[in-house]
């Protein structure tokens, strides 16, 4: 498969009065052309920051990329100047934001907001951009596009605004679309519509999508592959099936166990106890150890490396080490297991930058 994006050992920090917050601590992942990668994790796990860094939209001057490479079509965009990034943003990579109520300019007609990118990147004339804008609005399912584009954001409902935000992101046919919790601020029926819309559009435009969410239900619906983030690191990554039906990391077990599902009827939902660690001073061993019922002694001393479960499935937990005791996942997870067998006989430590 063609690699579109290859993130290598990305570290992002924020300078604050309390010291340096290490929001992302060495993240590796790839996104192939036309696929959907979901990044899941609780608030503060670094998922939004990671994707903001891809576009260099970190709040300046506090947030900065400390280390690592972001290879987009083979070119490292982490070190590009703001001027060079302006040519990439909105054209090759674009973003859909979380809150449609605040992410549109309230004093600008929505037509102009969509046309802006077209005129900027594709040097279209206003008339041409207008035609394309009408097309886009129809694509995202806004009826009566012609008259709608003369309206202002406050004349649209939340779901409609999110469609406009999507239209803005799609305007220049980006190769990579980053969706930062695009459905969190919407009610459930609208959520489903927006997800359908995004899947539909992906089929038509063949762009890759990075989908950030903390809603596992949404993940199951859209993702080809899933990366689970915790405390600024990816703790498990694999295809959607592997993550949902053969999870290896205790944190993934916890997330799945806390997800309401129809299969789980009659069982109690579990919660992950405790709170994420303070990232100004990340713990020495496994960051999840203090909250982990299955933590081993080594977890407090040494950070687990990535273990390779299959060609597509990796997890960073000592439980996969050959010397580890055989730990059974909790009941809530076991019920999901569909008996996807491990392809490798025993998981082994992944080589650097493999995943």
């Amino acid at each position: 498969m063609d690699k579109l994006l290859d993130v290598k050992n990305l570290k992002i920090s924020f300078n604050t009065y309390g010291g340096e917050v290490q929001a992302v601590r060495g993240v590796n992942f790839t996104v192939n052309k036309g696929e959907t990668l979901a990044i899941v994790g609780e608030s503060g796990s670094g998922k939004s920051v990671t994707t903001k860094a891809l576009m260099q939209l970190l709040p300046k001057p506090h947030g900065f990329i400390k280390e690592g490479e972001i290879l987009f079509e083979g070119e490292d965009i982490a070190k590009k100047s703001d001027k060079d990034m302006q040519k990439i943003r909105g054209k090759d990579i674009s973003m859909i934001f979380q809150d449609p109520m605040t992410s549109l300019n309230p004093t600008m007609k929505i037509g102009n907001q969509i046309m802006e990118g077209l005129i900027l990147h594709q040097k279209m004339s206003r008339d041409k951009a207008r035609e394309r804008t009408i097309e886009l609005l129809e694509l995202v399912g806004i009826p009566d596009a012609e008259s709608r584009l003369k309206q202002f954001p406050h004349q649209f409902s939340g779901g409609m605004r999110q469609r406009v935000v999507i239209a803005i992101a799609l305007a220049c046919n980006p190769k990579l679309l980053i969706a930062d919790e695009p459905t969190t601020a919407l009610d459930v029926t609208i959520q489903a519509q927006i997800l359908e819309l995004m899947k539909d559009i992906q089929k038509k435009t063949d762009s890759a999508i990075i989908f950030i969410t903390h809603d596992l239900g949404v993940v199951a619906n859209v993702a080809d592959r899933v990366a689970v983030m915790y405390a600024g690191k990816i703790v498990e990554i694999g295809t959607a099936d592997e993550i949902f039906y053969n999870p290896k990391h205790p944190y993934t077990w916890g997330l799945l166990g806390s997800m309401p599902s129809l299969d789980n009827e009659g069982y109690e939902l579990t919660a992950i106890p405790g709170t994420p660690p303070d990232m100004t001073d990340p713990p020495k061993g496994d960051a999840f150890a203090p909250r982990n019922d299955y933590a081993l002694k080594i977890d407090e001393e040494l950070e687990p490396p990535m273990f390779k479960v299959s060609d597509t499935h990796y997890a960073a937990t000592w439980l996969l080490h050959e010397n580890a005791p055989n730990v059974e996942p909790p009941e809530s997870v076991k019920r999901r297991l569909k008996g996807i067998s491990n392809t490798g006989s025993t998981p082994e430590v992944a080589k650097d930058g493999e995943q």
Binding site: L57, N105, T107, V165, A169
Partner: protein
């Protein structure tokens, strides 16, 4: 829209009527009469003059007569200048004041907004602190202090501009305009900085940046308009401040403006001129407020007045 305008104009008329009535009675409560400074006239002559101007009538009668004239656009004649109509006094004197007021408002706003923008863009940098200091000094030091300093520094010491007087030339307007514009400039700078910082931190600015809009485009195309909405609110009081501010500045620079005339007419109890000027200021004030309310709608589509069907 037309309905809204008509309604607003109706309110304006009522407001003006109340202002005119209250000022009339307040003015009549001032001690003395237009003739109190006159020693040359005999008792009989004074009586004749008072009779001629209708000042022997009871105050309510005078009020009714005055208001009747006012409705017909007649502001009466001045007591000081040989029966010159007050309307003519105002129109003769308005020129310098209008020029000063407009110049200082326009330049004050332009420089203030620029100063505020620079401060917001270079937040917490050297330029930000400089602009904040300028803003604090500008709001806290009264305009007549600047007037004196400017006269001494730029006119007496350096001789770049005339010290005072009004000769119609642009150079005569420079110093009073600077003295007057400092306050609006400082206020505009403070507001623009605060609002711009808030706007630049908002989500739609990130959306714009994610679209690939350049730094300048983000500030001017997306930020400025949103940051200006609260600024429009303070332009009204600012314009009024300039009107009253000119009273002092016109005295200091010996400018034959309406403010100087106003002060003089109060000193000598020139009732029609006092009333005329007050009403003129009030009309200006309510008109500015109306314009500002309409401006809101132009700048911010969310508060645009619709045809009444919503």
């Amino acid at each position: 829209m037309t309905r809204y305008l008509l309604k607003r104009v109706g309110y304006m008329v009522i407001t003006l009527f109340i202002i005119a009535s209250v000022s009339f009675f307040l003015m009549k409560m001032l001690p003395g009469s237009p003739l109190s400074a006159e020693n040359k006239l005999s008792e009989e002559q004074q009586a004749i003059v008072l009779e001629k101007y209708g000042l022997n009538d009871p105050v309510p009668v005078q009020y009714v007569k005055y208001m009747a004239g006012l409705v017909q656009g007649d502001l009466g004649t001045s007591y000081q200048f040989d029966s010159t109509p007050v309307t003519k006094i105002i129109s003769d004197r308005i020129g310098p004041s209008a020029i000063l007021g407009a110049q200082s408002l326009i330049f004050g706003l332009i420089f203030g907004i620029l100063l505020g923008l620079v401060a917001a863009i270079f937040h917490n940098g050297f330029l930000d602190f400089t602009s904040t200091i300028v803003a604090v000094l500008g709001t806290s030091i009264p305009s007549f202090v600047f007037a004196g300093l400017l006269q001494y520094g730029l006119a007496v010491q350096l001789g770049w501009f005339p010290v005072a007087l009004w000769d119609g030339g642009f150079e005569y307007t420079v110093l009073p305009t600077i003295a007057l514009m400092i306050f609006p400039m400082a206020t505009a700078a403070r507001f623009t900085r605060t609002e711009m910082l808030e706007v630049l931190g908002s989500d739609f600015i990130t959306t714009a940046r994610a679209k690939g809009v350049s730094g300048a485009g983000v500030v001017f195309k997306h930020g400025l308009r949103n940051a200006l909405i609260p600024l429009v609110t303070i332009i009204g009081p600012m314009a009024v401040g300039l009107m009253t501010g000119t009273l002092v500045i016109e005295q200091i620079f010996a400018i034959p403006g309406i403010g100087e005339q106003f002060v003089k007419s109060i000193m000598v109890n020139d009732y029609p001129t006092i009333m005329g000027t007050t009403i003129f200021y009030s009309v200006l004030f309510v008109a500015i407020i109306l314009v500002i309310d309409l401006l809101y709608g132009i700048i911010d589509p969310r508060i645009r007045v619709t045809g009444g069907d919503k």
